[in-house]
Amino acid sequence: AMAYGGLTVPIIVMSVFWGVVGGVLPWLVPKGPNRGVINTMLVTCAVCCYLFWLIAILAQLNPLFGPQLSNETIWYLKSHWP
């Protein structure tokens, strides 16, 4: 079985990624008439996408019940998935 990183690795990676997109890239956009729009777009995009991913991962952090599988699926997955 794979060693799962739990929550720490994904959250660090995604936070850094969207943090760069929303916090660092706006400074690097060249000056021009569209700078304001592009900056707004970058920040909004970073916030939206990060929040969406965060909700998805937090919802699966502590599942209250597990998936119910048909016996054929179980038979297949038992040997083919770790």
Binding site: A1, M2, Y4, G5, G6, L7, V9, P10, P33, N34, R35, G36, V37, N39, T40, M41, T44, C45, C48, C49, L51, F52, W53, I55, A56, I57, L58, A59, Q60, L61, N62, P63, L64, F65, G66, P67, Q68, L69, S70, N71, T73, I74, W75, L77, K78, S79, W81, P82
Partner: protein, 876 residues
Amino acid sequence: RQLNPKVSAFQRRFVGEVRRCEEMEKTFTFLQQELRGAGRALGPCPDNPRAPLAREALRVQEQSEQLAQELREVSCNRASLRGRLRELRQYLHVLREGQRFTSLSAPLGSPVRPRALSEREPILDPSLHQHLDRKITFVAGVIHPWRVSAFERLLWRACRGYLVASFVEMPEPMEDPATGESITWVIFLISYWGEQIGQKIRKISDCFHCHVYPYPESEASRADTMSGLHSQIQDLSVVSWAPQGGRGGHAGTPQSLTRAGHPQVLEESEQYLAQVLDKVVLALPTWRVQVQKMKAIYLVLNQCSFDVTEKCLIAEVWCPVRDLTQVQDALRQGSYKSGSSVECFVQRIPTSESPPTLIRTNKFTAGFQSIVDAYGVASYQEVNPAPYAIITFPFIFAIMFGDVGHGLLMFLFALWMVLYENSPSLRQASNEIWLTFFEGRYLILLMGAFSIYTGFIYNECFSKATVIFPSAWSVAAMANHSSWRWGSQPPCDPPRSLPALTPPHSAHSSAYLATHPSLTLDPNVTGVFQGPYPFGIDPIWSLATNHLNFLNSFKMKMSVVLGIVHMGFGVLLGVFNHVHFQQRHRLVLELLPEMVFLLALFGYLVFLIFYKWVKFSAANSLVAPSILIHFIDMFLFTSNADNLPLYRGQVPVQTVLVVLALASVPVLLLGTPLYLCCRRRAPRPGRPAVRLGSRRGGSAGGTQRGLTAGAVPVQPVAAGEQEPLLEGQEAGNSVNATKEDVESGGHSPDAEHLDFAEIFMHQAIHTIEYCLGCVSNTASYLRLWALSLAHAQLSEVLWTMVMRNGFVRLSYAGGVVLVPVFAAFAVLTVAILLVMEGLSAFLHALRLHWVEFQNKFYVGAGYKLCPFAFAPDAWE
């Protein structure tokens, strides 16, 4: 701005010019019709001609009228020539055919039957030719073939056997002058005796619109007439008709007229016609554009008024402040180019009218601005939600549409449109639906891109999950460590219950599996659940039969969280408005209570959701509290014994929050009105008469905080002051400003009480709307869940019931069957999932923006600035 409201349309100064332009346009239409009749197309105008000066306009008018005149003459002459030619030829035929009958008087025994049109017996027997002792006169002519039988019958009834008629078809068809179609005429030859009968016959043939030609009685005169006709026809062919050159190579060659030959004169006239048409084709496009520009300019000039001294024109226009220097430059250039001695200039005058709104966009942002404007144009200097909508709109669309495959298709489609956006065939299509899609190509591009992202998070690609990272749920661990073996007690009914623990030895778990058609993985067993899937939803859920249980809970909570965040953001955008319009009191008296209300109730809900996700796991899943029941109990101040608290001290915290929220309502309701009332009670005489009740939409004299897309970033754009063209008039009010205009800014003190009532009423409505709206709008965001569920289910249905059937057969025949199955799958995917679901999600995302998001801060009561411009695609 229309400065002559009192003058009727006919008395305006430039009406004559406008009329002249319209006459010219009529001439142009006539010319164009002639062109079309000759089968030529009018090309587009090659360059952008400037509007002509007055004398140029005269020249254009003269030339166009001359050309039209020439065209008319040419067509007329051509028509008359053709008519003449036709008549001559008909006459010739009549004579020729008639010969056959009259020369047949001798053999009576074998009458040559004339070629009748129908199979029946001719009514008038040609064998009556034997009665030749009387003097016979002839009437000959041509008649339309449809009228032959009626003509015959009438002749017989009228003349009762005193005449002989024969009909024969003309050997070649000819044009009917009236309808222009080619008809095979029928030649008739009537021989009669007696004067009265002759008159009757002529009257009848007149009735039937026959062309009657004189038929000479003797052979010799007939031969003479025929040769005369021949020469006349030849003459027509050699007559030099064209007044100007262009005879070309056909000059003067006398060709004998054959049956199939086309006379030369007509060719020459056709050539001349072609020349005139060429001239027209060259000149017409430019003229059209010029005249259209002139007309537009004169229409605008009609809106100006003259100065008292009748020496200059005054116009009042709206102009963006930033472009003021440009306007001044243009005016200077204009007066220099037209060579006038007086310069025109620009002066600002104050006004109480609300200026129009100008938001500068480029081709990318125009699409997003238009969907915001479709709800309502931003009030003057109000915050513009469009820059945020560039991202939030496609994002909310994508939440409802999330599927990698469909998103990719949409993205590629939009990419194609964007890459080929300059191709004229795409741009100038006449299909309106296509143009709508084309205008929104950047919108669709972003929607597709975000759909790919949300598709990865939902882990759906054409309804199939992709296993990018290995799944966190281990079936093997469940099978090995748990009780899926013989000897265990049968599992109980509640879905979350544990099957009994393991017996010491392992047996064939496959036998166990055979008797249990479905089993549930239990996260409590070690090794079964290894942690949250790092990016998105775990792929095992797509194989599970109870995946909707999990997904529904996830998507509902997600919708609520995102909705509350979106609405909170909307409320926060109001900060910009309050700060810009110098209404900082509203920050404390309105924004603060609104935020408190929203966060205390719904922000707390978000907190509960996140808290439950983090703190409660499968270990205590049996006793996990229900957030919904807690939320309801919070409002009702009750508690439910079965529902355990989420954390210690929950009840007092909730009580405090509810009290806080309820306390913010009266602040919201009464704060601003009381404040304004207090402020007005302190009298300030020197204050300019500006309305204080400026919260009502579209305040006059306010300034716009336009976050204009594509322009200078985040700076206020004061778009609009009023400037007239004035000379010698003091800087004062508008030329025909009425008394009401100037005084509408102020109001008398008696009106104050009324105003207070109005303000209070307005605020009460706002409070109720806001508080109730919070609840209902939060629930409204659940449509994000509903539509994404519908999309997922539709695509799953399409897969299981259509595409999967193509994989069932494993033989080569199955491969052939796969092709039509895939075709059906593809068509249904595009039609139902992409188009229908796409439009549906688009609509709901739009509604969420327009209603739930924008009613937190947006007024949208402005009107757009419509500048006077010559757009190149406005002319055909």
